[in-house]
Amino acid sequence: MAQTVPFGISAPSAERTRIAAQATSIPWFVWSGIISVSSICFGLYWDISWHMTIGRDTFWTPAHLLIQFGGILAAVTCTYLIFSTTFSHDPAVQSSSVKVWGFRGPIGAFLTAWGGVTMVTSAPFDNWWHNSFGLDVEILSPPHVVLGWGILGVGIGYLVLVVSAKNRATGAVRAKLTWLFLYLAGLGLMLHMILISEYSDARFMHSAVFYRVLMLVTPLLIMGYATASEHKWGATIVASVYMAVELAGLWILPLFAAQPKLGPVYTNVTHMVPMGFPVLLIFPAFAFDLVRARLAGRNKWLLALVAGTAYLLTLILIHWTFGSFMISPLARNWFFGMIYFPYQEPASMHQLAYQFEKYEPTRAAFFQGLGLAWVFAFLSTRVGIAFGGWLLKVRR
């Protein structure tokens, strides 16, 4: 909690306030953020599985409720933070806040509140969309993107809340906050990976589109979070959190019996269907960490060029081989999950999962796509370095 070191010692007023605003223990809202973002992420994964297994027959599915709980907890936490800061008489609290529309509060609280309002806004929009164009015809619809922006606001808001507390803290508290930040960052990465899951399928791993889509945002997020964490293995940890949560989903959900509730049923599903095996981001993230250590303090454009290139090359090396493995019979087991199909998928289509899709029609288009992926990797990494640098400086 932003707390209560006595003002007694003779220090300039600003310095006194700075010390006073230091976190000496994990602030309560950090735990709220961990619970809230975890609920949203686990809820979202569960919800997708619910859609693939049972079908959405009501808004009030447990998975939806978990997402809503996360959103409501975030909204309540941040509203309280903003109001308590605005009307606080404690200069330490006031001085570690920013001012928006006459209210005072941590930046992260404002961002999270904004995300909450955006999530709420998406609900009537989504309802109208469903009435007008049908129920869940597609994942990437305009109202779902508004919801995505809202979830992004909540996620980034909490990351900023935690990172600012970390930046103000020292010693053991700072170390703990760094780990909590990395955990939240891993969930943030997972949210993005869910958004692009349509393109991260094994059957695209020999196409440029797989690498192109992955290079757009993942270097930004992983490099940004790693930089902000100041942890030597920050990138590897963030990627590990994402992979661990998705693997847990892949291995745990199928243990629960379930069957489709809405027809037409094309595949006779008997257990919860999980999402696919996660992308092996831990390897390119590891490459990031190695390059970060080697080029620490050097020109940021150079760092972006080398790190981005290493990230892309590692991903290609790993996933070209892994893709071949995933479409082979060796991956058709619970561990790699190439045996699960949503109930909406006709059995006649199952074979397609075991074939590479030639997304680019020509070799030229393929190499063009890879070239574009390299440009994305470079730019995305550079933006990530800047984003991480900004996060590192956040004090309020």
Partner: protein, 524 residues
């Protein structure tokens, strides 16, 4: 003017009305026996598919304790695994009335399995439900205003937050923002506003494109029907392509199958008076076209409706318009029939008289008066068709029973009607502006060929040996087929989809003749 004089003068064209299975009449009405229970089923299909339909079932046999429903496709891969059934809720006022919701998650030829359990045991019927998205819903002004307001708030919010983040976010606690920070914050806010504006513009473009693509992909359009007259007093009909259909190869766009023994039921109605009516059955011609030997036809502008059913069980009503000159043609034969009547009129639906005609005769009609609220259609052979209509207005969007009986020349009810194409009767409900056309039977509004397909899947499930060949519908094996003597009353379950003036053509068979009663109905 003779037809052959203008022989290859061809007029085709067609108004593709946005509705499958009939035109403008998407709701399903059906009655049948689920084992020992006689059930009447109404299904209001959703405007957009995937969507939720409303289902209401009434048992006219007492003792039903529970009704469960299961939706699944009639044919194809989606017909193999039925989802677990949903239980309908009984009404508090009427224990034999059940209602609930029905999820139709894709367009296509569905069936709803209805299982009734009760004192007399259990039984199941299969009700075909052709599901097709009809239209998108425009955004209500109030919702639009709310969302626009929220958008302004959110844009202002994020721009202000980013400005505050730049102004004060990196200052140590206790420090005040100086002119440098304030200037930088303004710069960030201006940049953020531009980026948000660009994102919103891109989003708006995407929204528009996505909405247009979805409408294009989802909303049903009937295949075009090209109609022309060819030498020899023949009508050539060619069914055009429809992307909506070809996108659904398994559940919709399958080959045609006979319904009541005919691949196509063709209706010609002279417009705007609706005073001439022909129910014909063109024969398949080369290249997938249909050819009809026209009977004698009175000159005029005609609305063409063509009913077809596919092997998936999915029905289409195709429409077109054509000018037909006075045609000598060939005498009516087979199941073809015709009628003439006075022009459609809002007055003729009052409790007095309507008029009609019979097959193979388009003579004039003579008015008489009925004491009750019944309407009378006097037929050329001296018989009369009586619409036993309850007094009071006819409401739209409600299941109504349309009961008719035939009186012979002595005024006695006829109790020995014959099946007409296997059915006790056929009724066509047509709105005066032609926006509604429904071809209904005593069993309901769904094509009997689709009922037969759905019944076949039921039999399969019940482990009753079923033919491995695709079923073919003939008059001899139609479900709901009338076998013994019919009459004196023939009734049809139907609900008008909207208010307006309707003309109803009711067809029964007596003494080897098809008798067509013509009635007008003002629907409130």
């Amino acid at each position: 003017m003779k037809t052959n004089r203008i022989a290859w003068l061809v007029l085709s064209i067609l108004i593709a009305e946005p509705l499958a299975a009939h035109i403008g009449s998407p709701d399903v009405f059906f009655q049948g026996d689920a084992g020992p229970y006689h059930l009447v089923v109404s299904i209001r299909t959703p405007q957009m598919v995937p969507g939720v339909a409303e289902i209401q079932i009434r048992s006219s046999t007492p003792g039903v304790k529970q009704i469960k429903i299961v939706p699944l496709y009639i044919v194809g891969e989606g017909s193999k695994y039925p989802p677990p059934p949903d239980v309908l809720l009984p009404s508090k006022d009427d224990p034999q009335f059940f209602s609930g919701k029905l999820w139709l998650m894709a367009s296509g030829s569905w069936q709803v399995r209805v299982e009734a359990d009760g004192d007399a045991g259990s039984g199941t019927i299969a009700v075909p439900v052709p599901a097709a998205a009809r239209s998108t819903m425009p955004m209500q002004k109030s919702l639009g205003a709310l969302l626009a307001g929220l958008m302004v708030l959110l844009v202002a919010g994020i721009v202000s937050i980013l400005g505050a983040a730049r102004r004060e976010g990196q200052l140590e606690p206790g420090q005040q923002a100086g002119p440098t920070q304030k200037r930088a914050a303004r710069f960030v806010m201006a940049g953020a506003l531009m980026i948000v504006a660009a994102v919103l513009a891109g989003g708006a473009f995407w929204w528009k494109t996505a909405a247009a693509n979805l409408s294009n992909r989802m909303i049903y359009t009937a295949p075009e029907l090209f109609v022309s007259l060819v030498p020899g007093d023949q009508m050539l009909l060619r069914i055009g392509d429809s992307k909506w259909h070809t996108r659904r190869p398994d559940t919709v766009a399958t080959p045609l199958m006979p319904d009541h023994g005919h691949l196509m039921h063709l209706f010609l109605i002279r417009t705007p008076q609706m005073d001439r009516f022909y129910h014909l059955h063109p024969m398949p011609d080369k290249g997938g076209a249909f050819l009809d030997d026209l009977p004698p036809i009175a000159a005029g502008h005609y609305q063409v409706f063509a009913d077809i059913v596919r092997v998936s069980g999915f029905p289409d009503t195709l429409s077109a318009q054509i000018d037909i000159p006075e045609t000598t043609g060939k005498p009516l034969s087979g199941d073809d029939s015709t009628a003439s009547a006075p022009p459609i009129s809002a007055d003729s639906q009052s409790p007095k008289e309507a008029s009609g005609a019979s097959a193979k005769d388009t003579g004039s009609v003579k008015d008489t008066k009925d004491a009750q609220a019944n309407l009378i259609s006097s037929l050329p052979d001296g018989t009369r068709m009586i619409w036993e209509r309850a007094p009071g207005p006819l409401p739209a969007n409600q299941l109504l029973w349309f009961k008719f009986r035939l009186e012979d020349t002595n005024g006695k009810s006829v109790a020995n009607l014959e099946p007409y194409m296997g059915m006790a009767g056929h009724a066509e409900f047509v709105r005066s502006d032609l926006s509604v056309f429904a071809h209904v039977h005593p069993d309901g509004s769904v094509p009997m060929a689709a009922v037969q397909l759905a019944d076949a899947t039921l039999a399969k499930n019940a482990a009753i040996p079923a033919s491995s060949n695709p079923p073919t519908t003939t008059e001899m094996n139609m479900p709901g087929m009338a076998t013994g003597p019919i009459g004196p009353e023939v009734s049809f379950p139907y609900g008008f989809p909207k208010p307006g003036l309707y003309r109803i053509f009711v067809q029964v068979k007596y003494n080897g003749r098809v008798e067509t009663g013509v009635f007008d109905a003002q629907v409130k």
